[in-house]
Amino acid sequence: MIRLFQTIGEYILFLGKVISKPEKWRIFYRDTVKEIDKLGINSIAIVAIISAFMGAVITIQTAYNTENPILPDYLIGLAARDSILLEFSSTIVALILAGKVGSHIASEIGTMRVSEQIDALEIMGVNSASHLVLPKITAAVLFNPLLCILSNAVGILGGWIVGSATGAISSQQYIEGIHYAFIPYYVFYGMLKTVVFAFIITSISAFYGYYVSGGSLEVGRASTKAVVNSSVVILLFNLILTQLLLS
């Protein structure tokens, strides 16, 4: 328990170092664009694939579990839409990105630590934590909501294509369900959660990478810890945000 509080304290101090004015804004913008490419654009394919299959499975499962003549078929489209908007596109995609992006960040920064590249930055008088981590956080916070929107669209599209192709629901009914009782706030809610999750993934992974000591084995361990702990924190914050934003 004491170790947990100590880690939280160290993480807060680390954030204090990270969130500071960049040394040179030009370098910060350049690095942020690079990170958008590395962390965001490189994740488009995986997010699209997962979202398409997720939307398809949600639609089929909803269809097969609501075979009740009282319930109209368009509710399948509505259920698929709301599941995707409220939960899957933000939380599931965040958990997947915690694995992909989180391990990448932790191992990149961890390797820089063990090969003394971070020391080299410190020797130059650079705030290494801010210089290395702030562009990553900024890139993820800016770009991940776009991934969330992409995931929403591809997920709903996946459900439509597979739902109609398998005969689980007619195309017309699905589209009717998608339009039925649409609450635009749900889109905003999903994006807001994505912003928080993006911050959690990048900052926690960077924290574990930044404080690695030892060699390649420890870098691997830090990478695993980063993924596991950011996933747990995502789930915890998902609960808190759901209660705060939907109650």
């Binding site: 390797t111 003394e116 020391d119 080299a120 130059m124 008088g125």
Partner: protein, 253 residues
């Protein structure tokens, strides 16, 4: 001149530096020698501020370094260049970007001016035409030379080299040693080198400090080291059979 006074550093109950006091001469190549685990690297990292000392003072000329605020320390560190044991070049940057890095960070020079300086530094370390290569495409000796070029990019007043010869063949080691010596003399830099390479000690050491089990055990020049009667120093310096034979021969002469 750099001076350390009574510095102590402990890592979880293990005292690595035990009240070391020493003075490193300005414009000279000062060597810290000692066995692996004697505290050389910790001493060097403490001097540059990578480790916070538990006790004692570190002076850069008359400036008390370890009591400086963040901004003042940052300003002073811009006068410091360091060559790390593993070179510590940024893997994702080319040679040119590595050397340009401190210039981009701390100067307002135009791209042309920075490129001119980068090319000058690379020429100085005999690494011309390597601008677009990545560190993974360089040999160990080339990496060290690029790291030296990066360290001197901002015209430092102080240069630190942590085991610059580790992992290098004897010929390349001599080349790196000579380069460090030349740069020190050319620019009047205060250089501190951590080493346990006896070729470096004899070749470039203007002033030598021997660290033994976290304490300063001996201090002198590379000429005096051959005639010292300090037992621990002799055990270290003349550890090899060949070195013993050379010394025995010298004594006979």
């Amino acid at each position: 001149m750099i001076r350390v006074s009574n510095i102590t550093k402990t890592f979880s109950d293990i005292t690595v530096l035990k009240g070391i006091s020493a003075e490193f001469d300005a414009g000279k190549t000062n060597l810290i020698i000692g066995q692996s685990g004697s505290g050389k690297t910790v001493l060097m990292k403490s001097i540059v501020g990578l480790h916070e000392v538990d006790k004692g003072d570190i002076f850069y000329d008359d400036i008390l370094f370890n009591k400086l605020g963040f901004k003042e320390k940052k300003h002073l560190l811009q006068q410091v260049g360091m060559l790390f044991q593993g070179s510590a070049l940024f893997d994702s940057h080319t040679v040119e970007e590595n050397v340009m890095y401190p210039l981009e960070m701390f100067t307002n020079q135009s791209m042309d001016e920075m490129l001119e300086r980068v090319n000058f530094c690379l020429r100085r370390v005999n690494m011309t035409d390597t601008n677009k290569l990545y560190p993974s495409e360089l040999s160990g000796g080339m990496k060290k030379r690029v790291a030296i070029a990066r360290a001197i990019a901002l015209n430092p007043k102080y240069l630190f080299c942590d085991e610059p010869n580790s992992g290098l063949d004897p010929k390349t080691s001599i080349l790196i040693d000579n380069l460090i010596k030349e740069i020190t003399e050319e620019y009047g830099i205060t250089t501190i080198v951590n080493t346990h390479d006896m070729n470096s000690v004899m070749g470039i050491g203007d002033k030598i400090i021997f660290i033994y089990k976290g304490e300063k055990w001996w201090e002198g020049s590379n000429k005096e080291i051959l005639h010292s009667d300090n037992q621990e120093l002799n055990d270290f310096v003349f550890a090899s059979k060949l070195a013993k034979q050379i010394r025995f021969g010298k004594q006979k002469d």
